[in-house]
Symmetry: C2
């Protein structure tokens, strides 16, 4: 008498978590310096100093009832204003506090938007491979169908032809994740403009908007000055889901937001539906102390030097050895073509022979590739290089 679907979702082993657990086990056996764990996307740089300084200041100077009390479901007005001003300043768009709905991170943000856009059992949400695997249960378990656009493995930009062929009058939205997990690629302005033009044209043909759901937790994690275009500036029917997990290294604190631009079609109705969806997911408000922190730290940016060093070291070393790697421009992932072509087999071999933990990207809609999270200690990368070498030989 227990919901079987929920049971399966809870019992499903996660490839990433399993690798991570194996790593801990092996570390106890052979020593942590002989295990090379590239499995988890857990930030390895500390939160900017202003974050902890704000926490200390808020706790020591503000009234406890104010700090820890309920806020409006959408979040504290002042905190939303701070975020709106930061977005406005950076992207030249008029952003208002009432267009922002704070959430407990990106996952519930995405799900509330999915629920709000699932209008019938046949509503479709498109995923562009490679994609974050949790998108699939998020969509399928919240009233819509997943349609997967296969990857363009030549560039890992948007495979526009394949996408066009899969569009239908039932397409409600396309989830766009750039900088991308797992490829590390940033979608170019050109790619996004072409996508916008296509969705504009098809939306007009179908008589309803096709929204872009821009999932942007990695927005601030970008290297070599690569541009990350702000999609609402390119396509008006965009809803942005954001999280401070990566940009402020606060993944455990569960703070992020949905931004529904006033100029998006049916903007207020959509915002209201998102708040209704959040309500039946048990959203009351996002953590209040963290809202106050964001109010003070909305303009803080991460110090990416450590990630960038890792990126150069790993990409440089692996390509020099002969691995075929997708050039990473953002986030903290490197996508590597599995030598031999079978990513599951290569991952298993790397694990068993070298204690090298690489995630097969099959679950990301990209079989034949491996995802490496380089948010790790630099010396682990250095120590792991002989293992990579040995696997190729």
């Amino acid at each position: 008498m227990i919901n079987e679907n929920c049971y399966k979702l809870g019992a499903e082993p996660s490839v990433i978590r399993s690798l991570f657990a194996y790593g801990l086990q092996q570390a106890a056996l052979v020593g942590p310096d002989k295990v090379y764990d590239y499995s988890l996307g857990n930030p390895s740089i500390p939160a900017p100093a202003a974050v902890n300084a704000s926490i200390m200041d808020i706790i020591s100077s503000m009234d406890s009832i104010q700090v820890h009390g309920y806020t409006m479901a959408a979040g504290l007005t002042d905190a939303r204003k701070a975020v709106a001003e930061d977005l406005e300043r950076r992207f030249g768009l008029p952003v208002k506090a009432e267009e922002l709905f704070f959430t407990c991170g990106a996952a519930p943000a995405l799900i509330s938007v999915i629920k709000a856009l699932a209008v019938g059992e046949d509503s479709e949400i498109m995923l562009l491979a490679p994609f974050f695997p949790e998108y699939v249960p998020f969509v399928e378990q919240n009233g819509a169908k997943v349609v997967i656009v296969p990857p363009d493995t030549s560039s890992f930009q948007i495979a526009l032809d394949k996408l066009e062929a899969l569009l239908s009058p039932r397409t409600q939205a396309v989830i766009v994740n750039s900088p991308n997990n797992p490829s590390g690629v940033v979608y170019s302005r050109e790619s996004l403009e072409a996508l916008a033009a296509l969705l504009e044209r098809k939306g007009a043909e179908y008589g309803h908007p096709i929204y872009i759901i821009a999932d942007e937790p990695y927005r601030e994690l970008v290297y070599d000055g690569v541009e990350v275009p702000f999609i609402p500036c390119i396509y008006k029917n965009t809803v942005v889901c954001y999280s401070y997990s990566k940009s402020l290294s606060l993944p455990g604190e569960r703070i992020g937001y949905v931004y529904v631009p006033g100029f998006a079609r049916d903007s207020r109705e959509l915002y209201t539906a998102i708040s209704g969806a959040a309500r039946i997911m048990g959203h009351v408000c996002p953590p209040s102390l963290m809202q106050l922190v964001i109010g003070r730290c909305a303009a803080e940016r991460p110090d990416l030097a450590a990630y960038d060093e890792n990126r150069r070291l790993l990409y440089g070393s692996l390509t020099a050895m002969g691995y075929e790697c997708v050039k990473p421009q953002g986030a903290f992932y490197l996508l590597v073509k599995a030598p031999g072509g079978d990513s599951m087999a290569f991952s298993e071999k790397a694990k068993l022979q070298q204690n090298l933990l690489l995630v097969p990207a099959d679950g990301f809609g990209c079989p034949g590739y491996l995802r490496l999270s380089y948010c790790v200690a630099k010396d682990m990368i250095e120590r792991s290089l002989p293992a990579f070498k040995a696997l190729l030989d």
Copy 2:
């Protein structure tokens, strides 16, 4: 092309929030000292000193990456151990960390249990009036049907005969909220034992367990030494949903848990299904800093002196005037019979004539009554008494 159901849920005006907003508006017009707002259940006592001291200590002494990093979905093992030990010590049950699943407060805890127990479209979850109004969308929007047991207005204990008449083979669970919002009543051991015996008998008859979902955010808010029996000690098929919102005055911080006792029927399956349900609601982990705080403060208890003073003052004064009140034993609510019998009309009159904001309990399944939240400043109660008097005259 927006989900109408979500839209309605987002657009629905909340009686409580509307009263609160009216209060703010009137305060600006006539002065805050002439508005008597009994609408919101927002704790008015600060968090125990140990909470903020823990935050300061954690931030200043621990590694930022550890403090703010992802935790397991179920929560940090040490924090769960601390809670398990506290429960075990107080209630004499063996409680293990792996029986606890930390959540972002009681609302998602309840919803994940409801989802896990909704096995078919006709699954029924029983509510005992008076009840927290959000239970209705929580149940109805997450796969089950609501069955309401009318209140026993003579005692506000469990109306067992009415409950029995409404039980069916489709009954999956009964939500039991004690100390009760809005009545302030604590269900007696006798009431709970009678309920347990009935559910045991009916469960055997139907061939499946009928769970009790014990919603216990007010467990620690109890006066005059009244006993709050721990329901798993009385009925084994109990799942406890808890929140630190009221007991540690942390409503904005969103931290609570589900406790699935190992001795409950299908305990591990149910726990797994709850974690699966949480996953598709976007639960990643509860706020990590707050988990660390709970790990240190699991045995902290609130200082109830201020609430108790308010309770005595308000109950004593109103009954002396001639109001018929339910004797409050716990939580921070007083349920008052509406003079004249029409709670909506009386609430409106109190609002317009006296700026006295009382919530009609109709939405709580208890028409003819008004809910007063006495988590307010004592001097507001004192200043409000002439208004209560004037309304009776």
